[in-house]
């Protein structure tokens, strides 16, 4: 229980630093995005939806649920489902390793945890820099809300010119209660 609570403040400090670096002289509408890795690809979710980042801990498995629902875990007295994001997106299940973690998010008032391979960064991007996801053939077309290019932060902190494409996820479509909402 204690580990995740120390993780969150650290992330916040990180965020503040990133923002101040980018904010200078720019007043355009911006949003903060948490980026993370799944396999080789970088994804992002809105920072405002994030409740906390916690270490992987095997959740309590549930009977008769889709395989991407890994189970439920105790989040400060609440029973929260944990979703294997890779499987939810139709990929091979993530292989657990030391940097695997759970992003706990608030989706329209419901809490859910998503298993990701590694949290990468917190960046601010201008709304105008977000591009609509092109119509590509995927199993569920609209899970990706948009695409954005960000400069990659290298470990040495040098001004790297490498650009990374981040796929912004539409959390409301990933909610584990989603298919029930549709059925009713």
């Amino acid at each position: 229980m204690n580990t995740q609570e120390t993780a969150a403040p650290a992330t916040k400090a990180y965020a503040a630093e990133t923002v101040s670096a980018i904010d200078t002289g720019d007043t355009l509408a911006e949003r903060k995005i948490v980026t993370f890795l799944l396999g080789q690809q970088t994804f992002g979710i809105e920072m405002s939806a994030l409740i906390e980042i916690r270490e992987w801990e095997t959740p309590t498995p549930l009977p008769s649920v889709p395989s991407y629902i890994k189970g439920v875990t105790n989040l400060r007295g609440h029973v929260v489902p944990v979703v294997g994001l890779a499987e939810r997106l139709g990929w091979e299940p993530s292989v657990l390793h030391s940097r695997s973690c759970i992003l706990v998010v608030n989706i329209e008032g419901k809490h859910a945890g998503f298993l990701v391979d590694e949290v990468a960064d917190i960046v601010s991007v201008a709304d105008s820099a977000i591009q609509m996801a092109p119509e590509v053939e995927v199993t569920e077309a609209s899970l990706i809300k948009g695409l954005v290019q960000i400069g990659q932060r290298s470990q040495e902190g040098s001004s790297d010119k490498d650009q990374t494409m981040v796929s912004l996820l539409d959390l409301s479509k990933l909610s584990p209660t989603r298919h029930i909402d549709l059925a009713v």
Binding site: L62, S64, G77, V79, H111, I180, A183, V184
Partner: protein
């Protein structure tokens, strides 16, 4: 409008709701032929209170209508209008209009069109007056209607502006000007009343002036004022009441009218009522408001401080001793308290887990556990409410449905005092509505059809609530035609809910009506048949951790039973372990536990086993199979079989070990996920890990049939 005003108005509406419930219950009793004076008086008081409050808050339409309704009720109470079936029916209809008016005043609905109803009420009054044309004047107790004009008694009623707090008290003089004409035909002597309000009457809201005005309104006249107890100016408490009044009242005034005037006086007031010429005047101490359950709303003529009088601080002498003291509490605060207590319970068991077993035995910990449990029980009981609240709107709904479908249906209600958690009451309203609509629309036949079938012309709808163990059984049953299985199956196949070749049992077909998107109504009526009905019922009930049972007999009727957990929060459970996971079984389901001896467990067919128990065989299910878990390598002899009680009889449930018995706080899965069949929720154990709570009945009841369309439901 100030917040204060809104707050007081909110209290008024709550009281309206209570008043409407009382009135409806009373009217229904009357319609059934039980028109005792007490019942009639109860209805009268309820409508009277609504009228008074409506006036105080400026809801003129509501006030106007309730006033007319009250007039009729008053005549019924006085025995002038006999409470025949016909009259009762009219009054029930009037009640519906009144409900509409209350809703309109709350801004929940448009103003109902009451012209027809008003006409019907006036007709009742007119018929009564015509019938008594040569009899004496109508009861004096009847509230005067024609404000401003001389009425048949020859006195001028006081025009009281409901908001004019400065109404000139001298105007009362006119009202009392001609009391002598009253009761001229009566041989009884005049009333003599001595009234000494208690010193703190005004502080308690028992304004003596209101009483005097009320008495003067019915012809009272002050003949003496004793000022002997008036202290010197220095000691005078400006809010104290020091005077004693003696009044005379015309002989024709009824005793009950006088008593009514004293309904709201402060305790410790001295009231003596006697007849003038009685040889030795029988001095009676009136027991104020004894047996009076009326809401403390002053009659409208006494309204200058009706708002004040309607404040809850209105202790009448006898009530102050017997009645409970109530306060209104925001439900959100109760919910918060309940959550905190839940956390406290969990922390308590965490603490207990951390201590060594020697420390656990010390007196402090059991004591703490006991206190925690008591707090928990008390908080739970705060939220328990009689299910009557959910049933209360059924009679009205039924009348509307009957008139819309031209069917004649009688309602029988039982078990309405069963107490359940408030959240259950809130959430069963909609399922209940759907089930009743279904019963009337699809179940009960038209009168002609019933007669042709040799059934009683009047249909019957039974609504019952019953508590069995930790569960509530809520049943809606009708004596209609039952579920038409041929049509249901055909429709389900047509809609693709089941395949054309599936072989379904009767029970499975009946359950199809709960499948999403199913509706058999050939014509979509306004009442039901929008294809969401029973589907919504099922999901609502499952969201409550309950389930639905349907029993239908063709030609005889259908019974829908909602089986709900008694409380949504606390469960006495047995913690068991299976394949490394812990599960909680509700203790209410557990009959006994068995450690199977070699040979006691016998295979019957490929996948089923039985256990021999004192000469009988009980079917055994392995929990690992029910949950499709990797089958444990454990020998049956190393496992434990828990005999559980289900609706389908006793079943043995095989698990690895039994760990503990404890109370757990139920956390619903649908808060962040969705309900899962077979699970009643989850709980957080002492070490912070999660254990799933089993719903034994759902787990055992024909898992094949339920999974068939549970999956369909999700796919839809």
């Amino acid at each position: 409008m100030s917040d204060d005003f809104d707050d007081i108005q909110a209290i008024f509406f709550e009281e309206c709701a209570e008043g409407l419930a009382t009135a409806e219950a009373g009217l229904t009793t009357m319609a059934e032929g039980d028109s005792t004076a007490e019942v009639i008086a109860g209805v009268f008081r309820a409508v009277h209170s609504i009228k008074g409050g409506a006036g105080a808050f400026g809801h003129d339409a509501l006030q106007g209508f309730s006033h007319r309704f009250e007039n009729v009720l008053d005549e019924v109470r006085a025995g002038k209008i006999p409470p025949t079936q016909e009259v009762c029916r009219t009054m029930l209809l009037a009640f519906d209009v009144l409900t509409g008016h209350v809703e309109a005043a709350q801004g929940l609905a448009d103003l109902p069109d009451d012209t027809l109803m008003v006409a019907a009420l006036e007709e009742l009054l007119a018929a009564e007056r015509a019938g008594n044309a040569d009899a004496q004047a109508p009861a004096i107790a009847a509230p005067t209607e024609q404000a401003g004009g001389a009425d048949e008694f020859g006195f001028l009623p006081v025009v009281v502006d409901l908001f004019d707090l400065d109404a000139d008290p001298m105007a009362l003089g006119d009202a009392a000007a001609a009391p002598g004409e009253h009761g001229a035909q009566d041989d009884n002597p005049r009333w003599i009343i001595r009234f000494a309000p208690s010193r703190d009457a005004m502080a308690n809201g028992g304004e003596p002036l209101l009483v005097l005005r009320e008495l003067e309104r019915v012809g009272g006249e002050i003949i003496a004022v004793e000022t002997g107890s008036l202290p010197s100016l220095r000691e005078l408490d400006p809010e104290g009441a020091y005077f004693t009044w003696t009044l005379t009242l015309p002989a024709g005034v009824e005793r009950s009218t006088i008593d009514e005037a004293f309904d709201f006086v402060a305790p410790d007031s001295v009231i003596q009522i006697s007849r003038e010429e009685a040889p030795a005047p029988v001095v009676e101490q009136v027991e104020q408001a004894a047996g009076e359950t009326a809401k403390p709303l002053a009659p409208p003529t006494a309204v200058p401080s009706a708002a004040k009088a309607s404040a809850p601080a209105q202790p009448a002498e006898s009530k102050a001793i017997e009645a409970q003291q109530n306060i209104r509490v925001d439900v959100a605060k109760l919910d918060m308290l309940l959550n905190l207590v839940g956390e406290l319970v969990i922390r308590n068991s965490i603490l207990s887990d951390r201590l060594s077993s020697a420390d656990q035995q010390r007196v402090e910990l059991p004591e703490l556990a006991r206190l925690t449990r008591e707090i928990q029980d008390n908080v739970m009981s705060l939220r328990a409410q009689p299910i009557r609240q959910a049933f209360s709107r059924v009679p009205r709904m039924l009348r509307e449905l009957c008139s819309a479908t031209s069917k004649d249906v009688a309602l029988e209600v039982s078990g309405e005092t069963t107490e359940v958690d408030k959240s259950v009451i809130e959430k069963i309203g909609e399922p209940l509505t759907h089930m009743i609509r279904n019963a009337i629309d699809h179940g009960i036949e038209s009168t002609e059809e019933r007669i042709a079938k040799g059934k009683p012309a009047q249909g019957r709808l039974q609504l019952s609530a019953e508590q069995k163990g930790a569960r509530i059984f809520l049943r809606v049953s009708d004596d209609g035609k039952g579920i038409d299985r041929v049509r249901v199956l055909a429709k389900a196949v047509e809609k693709g809910i089941v395949g054309p070749d599936e072989n379904l049992s009767d029970e499975e077909i009946d359950n199809l009506i709960c499948a999403p998107g199913f509706s058999t109504a050939e014509t979509i009526s306004a009442i039901s048949g929008r294809g969401v009905g029973m589907d919504v019922v099922r999901s609502n009930v499952e969201a409550l951790g309950g389930r639905i049972e349907i029993i239908s007999t063709p030609g005889k009727g259908t019974a829908f039973t909602m089986i709900l957990p008694l409380t949504l929060a606390i469960l006495d459970g047995m913690v068991v372990r299976l394949a490394g996971q812990r599960y909680v079984l509700p203790l209410s389901n557990v009959v006994e536990t068995v450690q199977p001896e070699p040979g006691q467990l016998r295979p019957v067919a490929n996948s089923s086993e039985v256990i021999a128990m004192r000469g009988t065989y009980v079917p055994v299910r392995r929990l690992s199979e029910l949950f499709h878990l990797p089958s444990s390598e454990r020998e049956a002899e190393d496992s434990v079989v828990i005999i559980v009680e289900t609706d389908a009889g006793n079943v043995g449930l095989m698990v690895d070990t039994i760990e503990d018995r404890r109370e757990v706080v139920i956390k619903s899965l649908d808060q962040n996920l969705y309900p899962i069949r077979g699970l009643g929720g989850a709980t957080i154990l002492g070490d912070g890990s999660i254990a799933l709570i089993l719903d034994i009945d759902a787990l055992m009841v024909s898992p094949s049939a339920s999974s068939k369309f549970a999956l369909k439901g999700i796919a839809a």
